[in-house]
């Protein structure tokens, strides 16, 4: 297990390095940079910037150096916890980002818990009651969740929550808690607001999860050991819990690798619609205004979230399935 852990960690480092290069290339792709659009904006307002000032700003932000140098500075800074400078906000990125990263993390985590909590019983039920009306119905609802664009579902739920509960559900906490330090009251307020985005983002992943669990469990239920155990008089439910379910559970955990990028993607767009104080809306704004370090840090963080999530799911899988930790093969 220890060796497996070390090897898995070693793979993560180059992956993250390549990701950082890709992120940097992507945020450099748009023509021009923030400064040139800033200058153009100032000139449009009738202000004139002297050549020296422009050069000074350029030097200040490190835009006069070669891209490779800029990348190395950015990477070195990130390792020290310095994520660069946000042009738009005139603040270090780490201060702008604030607890957005934490809230993003919380949202993703809650969504995955929700997906599991919903998909697990439904998947088991569908498999044990194959081709029943409930099976068809639940599968159909799952598909519907998959097919409905997240943002629209968010909008509709937002409206109905407003009508039914009479509360404004937008945002991730009641307005009076914004900017407040963390407290129990704030925590509960967050919980109160969390359920809409969690449901909305969860719907898209749940269908796939249900179908995979159902398929896996159906395979297991046809095995001979199930027949044997039944023949020996083991109660149906006990048997299900003890053997086939455990076998069908592995892919469930391995699936977090597929689920996580999906959840993070979903969170990005739903947050824009619901104006949640997570990374999504700020990433969008940063991308549109070419605030490259801010956008880069967000992209980097979201990728980090998925890479670490996959790492954790691999660990859990290895702990559960001896074949993986002994042969050392990565899954699939």
């Amino acid at each position: 297990m220890f060796h497996y852990l070390i090897r898995r960690l070693m793979v993560m480092v180059p992956t993250l390095l390549v990701i950082s290069v890709l992120v940097f290339v992507i945020i450099q792709l748009p023509e021009g940079d923030y400064l040139s659009s800033y200058i153009a904006e100032l000139e449009a307002q009738g202000e004139k910037l002297s050549r020296e000032k422009v050069d000074f700003l350029r030097q200040q932000y490190g835009l006069d150096r070669s891209p490779v140098e800029q990348y190395l500075v950015w990477l070195g800074g990130m390792l020290r916890g310095d994520f660069g400078y946000s042009f738009e906000y005139n603040l270090p990125v780490s201060e702008v980002v604030g607890d957005r990263l934490f809230l993003s993390f919380l949202l993703s985590f809650a969504t995955i818990l929700f997906t599991w909590a919903v998909a697990f019983p439904i998947g088991v039920y569908s498999a044990t009651h194959q081709y029943s009306w409930t099976d068809h119905g639940l599968t159909f609802i799952g598909f519907l969740g998959l097919a409905t664009p997240n943002f629209l579902l968010a909008l509709v739920l937002l409206y109905f929550a407003n009508v039914v509960f009479g509360t404004s559900i937008g945002g991730l906490m009641d307005p009076e808690f914004i900017g407040e330090p963390m407290s129990w009251a704030k925590f509960f307020s967050v919980l109160e607001h969390l359920w809409i985005p969690v449901i909305v983002i969860g719907t898209s992943g749940t269908a796939g999860m249900i179908r995979r669990l159902r398929a896996n469990l159906l395979d297991e239920l046809q095995r001979q050991y199930v027949v044997t155990a039944r023949a020996k008089g083991l109660p149906r439910f006990r048997l299900l819990m003890k053997y086939p379910l455990r076998m069908a559970l592995n892919p469930f955990i391995a699936d977090i690798g597929n689920l996580l990028p999906q959840v993070v993607s979903g969170a990005a767009i739903v947050s824009v619609v619901l104006s949640l104080p997570t990374t999504g809306p700020m990433l969008l704004a940063a991308l549109q205004s070419q605030d490259m370090y801010l956008a880069g840090s967000f992209l980097m963080f979201l990728s980090l979230l998925t890479v670490v999530g996959m790492f954790l799911s691999d660990l859990a899988l290895a702990a559960l399935d001896p074949r993986i930790r002994l042969t050392g093969g990565t899954r699939r």
């Binding site: 890709l22 992507i26 097919a147 409206y159 969008l284 890479v307």
Partner: protein, 392 residues
């Protein structure tokens, strides 16, 4: 012994006068022949036919794709025609009977009132104003595929009337017509995107699976890295990088390329694992020994083995592209008007007021859901049919 000889002597020796046919037992009846000599694709079709839902989905998708060819004729209005007198008009119901009398399909005209208290436009049916629909008629002018001018429509409103079965938007444009036109873009985004992702997946996955070794290692890492990016933020970042100076069509192509570039990893993986298993087969070695080049071995001998699987999984990944385009356009990073896709139409439904006041602006989501569901079911059916020799 003598007993036996006696018995044989008592039997008459029978010889058939018919000419001898050594294959008489093995001859197949035409019915059997049809089954035993069926090609792989024919068997897949038989199996696919049994999947009713998939068959229906294929029909729906087929009709939708056919509609692309004649959007101008099918839509009652032109894509850009505005009716300034009917802004945010609610959907008109189609009736058949007026005061108990059969008139054929018609709509009642709108009676319009501006509510001075909250400045809302209030429309109601004017029950005295019957507007029969016209069929195969001449209506809004258009330029068919941008080439031929015409004005022939399948369905038009009455001469001075309106026909907005799905309502109008903030500029008084007919939503049904815009949805019909939007299909052109939304449905092709998925197809072009999947072509790109298919080409990339087959090439890179094929290289990795056929050569193995370090090529495999590099491709595997690449797939892992791309997969660990959350799709949507990556799409967002890439499409934010498209120059603003590009024409709308350029942006459209750019977006499809971006969708394809990010999406090929699943197919690449499938191709790789299949090839890894198949390249050890004897017929593959035989082909190599006979001097076939890798390209020939991969495409002539190995690929046909799992082409059907690939088509099935490609079908299953079209929906994510369609949804991706919708999401990007909704965020304002995707297609821009005047290019009209379902995603662009949904940008109109961006805030909660729309849900409360003009819920029909959300209707473009219906075709999105239908198409995504249909592709999913079709893909399921294709996947089941992909391996006709297994089971049953």
């Amino acid at each position: 012994m003598s007993n036996g000889a006696d018995r044989s002597a008592s039997l008459e020796h029978y010889v058939s006068s018919q000419p001898f046919d050594p294959y008489s037992i093995e001859t197949l009846t035409p019915d059997q022949e049809r089954i035993y000599f069926a090609s792989q694709w024919r068997m897949m079709w038989w199996r696919f036919k049994r999947h009713n839902l998939a068959l229906a989905s294929a029909a729906v998708l087929g009709l939708l794709y056919l509609s692309i060819a004649a959007s101008e004729v099918l839509a009652p209005y032109n894509l850009h025609s505005r009716d300034a007198e009917h802004i945010y008009a609610p959907p008109q119901r189609i009736h058949l009977f007026h005061e108990g009398e059969f008139v054929g399909p018609f709509v009642y005209g709108y009676s319009y009132r501006l509510n001075m208290e909250n400045l809302r436009r209030e429309y109601s049916e004017d029950l005295g104003w019957v507007q029969p629909l016209r069929f195969f008629c001449s209506g809004d002018g258009y330029s068919f595929w941008g080439l031929v001018a015409g004005s022939f429509h399948l369905l038009c409103p009455a001469p001075d009337g309106t026909f907005f079965p799905l309502g109008t938007d903030r500029l008084g444009r007919d939503i049904l017509s815009r949805i019909i036109y939007g299909a052109r873009i939304s449905l092709t985004v998925g197809l072009i995107g999947i072509l790109i992702s298919f080409a990339l997946g087959i090439t890179l996955g094929g290289l990795a699976g056929y050569y193995g070794g370090w090529v495999d290692g590099v491709v595997q890492r690449l797939i892992e890295i791309i997969r660990s990016f959350p799709e949507l933020p990556l799409w967002m970042a890439l499409s934010a990088a498209l120059p603003v100076t590009w024409s709308p069509v350029g942006v459209f192509l750019g977006i499809t390329v971006i969708l394809g570039l990010v999406d090929w990893t699943g197919l690449g993986r499938a191709v790789r694992s299949k090839l890894l298993a198949l390249r050890e087969e004897d017929y593959c070695t035989a082909a190599v020994l006979m001097g076939a080049r890798p390209r020939r071995v991969i495409f002539r001998h190995l690929m046909p083995n799992f082409m059907s699987h690939l088509i099935a999984s490609a079908t299953l990944s079209i929906p994510s592209m369609i949804l991706g385009e919708t999401a990007l356009s909704f965020l304002g990073l995707g297609l821009r008007p005047p290019v009209t896709s379902w995603g662009v139409l949904l940008t109109e439904a961006q805030n909660i007021n729309v849900v409360a006041l003009y819920p029909w602006l959300m209707l473009p989501v219906v075709p999105v859901i239908v198409v995504v569901l249909a592709f999913n079911f079709l893909g399921d059916g294709l996947r089941d049919a992909a391996d006709p020799y297994a089971g049953h």
